[in-house]
Amino acid sequence: MVDEPPAIELRGLARYFGERAALRGVSVRVPAGATLAVLGRNGAGKSTLLRILATLLRPHDGEALVFGEALPRRGFAVRGRLGLLAHEPLLYRELTGRENLEYHARLHRVGPARVQQVLEAVEMERRAEEPIRLLSRGMVQRLAVCRAVLHDPQLLLLDEPRANLDPAASGLVEPLIGRQSGCTRVLTSHDPRAALAEADLVLALRDGRAAFVGPPAEIDQAKLDALYA
């Protein structure tokens, strides 16, 4: 019997910004369909890790494999299979929500019907003709979710995915970016309890190093307190 390759495999991953190490010796293996919660204080390296997985940053040491493809060399092979929901919505402020999504749909060779489908899923179809700059942060975040899932990615990289969302909006995006999506997910959150509730696996980062890797059941309050101390 052949083991199914993991969706993500990191071996001794390191990334530096000048002299400062944002990530050092990070290793983790995420099976396909699983959710990895990345925890840590501000500046621990969570967003850097997500940007490396999104092929937006080069690792300086170690190996990063996504769907068995080595990054960054084989980045082109995975780009269309991942969706990134970052701190910034990656939407043009002067374009409407629909124009933004249609632009991304064309880049990903997705038909216009999918744009309408995701807009309806987050109940933004009635505000889709307004420029992004006129929308509230929560609405922009809903459109950012649409952008991230427009091309039906298999891997979702979610940096604070529910930021600015009220409970109702959070419920709306759940089928798209939650466990129900069926995607492999890597998510960061400043709310460790919420992240642990969604996770199959936890990577806790402290100063760029992996302080804990394991199932959420094994991370107790003392470990969490130490992580955020």
Binding site: R51, A54, T55, L56, L57, R58, F76, R79, G80, L82, L84, A86, E88, P89, L90, L91, Y92, R93, E94, L95, E99, Y103, H104, R106, L107, H108, P131, R147
Partner: protein, 224 residues
């Protein structure tokens, strides 16, 4: 090419929506003509002086567009969104250069007739076909080099300074060739119908060399 057209369409739509770049370039050019008018203390100019004034004004107006070319990508996450798509990265070079070429053409549609009215002694009409050819080649060079320089500058904190500091020296040969090619066309007497072939060839060669150079290095500029 398909991706480049998608990006170009988006850039033109953004410019039409905001009107941030082209109107500023036009206004700059018109004000500069007025300054030259009074600064030279001459009601009309012709020949090589006219070509120099026109070329230098268009070049400096172009710097405004070059400086703003990637601002939306940097400030609104356009780079990341583009890099996440499974597309050829060089298409951004083609799209941005094409957008800048369109901006320059729009600038010249207003600025060249205004130059004819405000400063130029001889009638613009006979020189226009040759001038369009010269300016098209100059715009191509400006668009390619401007995109390359803007791509470098936008990655730095001092992008407003880096653009002119790197861009203007690189554009000096294009400025010389454009002015020399346009000069004879703007003479009051014995103006030829066509610009000198030597300077057109230099401009074309310059465009080609920088287009190849930009194509070779542009992918690396997009990496963080």
């Amino acid at each position: 090419m398909r991706t480049a057209l998608i990006l170009l369409r988006k850039d033109l739509r953004l410019e039409l929506r905001t009107l941030e770049t082209v109107p500023a370039m036009i206004l700059f050019a018109l004000v500069t003509f007025v300054i030259f008018h009074f600064g030279l203390n001459r009601s009309t100019i012709d020949g090589q002086l006219a070509a120099g004034v026109l070329t230098a004004t268009l070049l400096f107006a172009a710097m405004l567009g070059i400086n703003r070319l990637f601002v939306a990508e940097r400030e609104q996450g356009g780079f990341d969104a583009f890099l996440l798509a499974p597309v050829d990265r060089s298409s951004m070079l083609v799209a941005k250069a094409a957008a800048l070429f369109v901006f320059l053409a729009a600038l010249e549609v207003i600025a060249v007739p205004a130059f004819g009215l405000l400063l130029l002694g001889p009638s613009l009409g006979p020189a226009l076909p040759g001038l369009i050819l010269v300016l098209a080649l100059a715009d191509l060079g400006l668009a390619v080099i401007g995109t390359l320089v803007s791509g470098i500058a936008v990655q730095t904190r001092a992008r407003d300074l880096i653009g002119p500091v790197i861009g203007l020296p690189l554009l000096i040969p294009a400025l010389i060739a454009t002015a020399r090619a346009a000069g004879p066309l703007l003479r009051s007497v014995h103006a030829p119908a066509a610009p000198p072939g030597k300077w057109l060839a230099i401009l074309a060669l310059y465009d080609l060399v920088f287009a190849l150079l930009a194509y070779a290095v542009f992918d690396f500029l997009l990496e963080e």
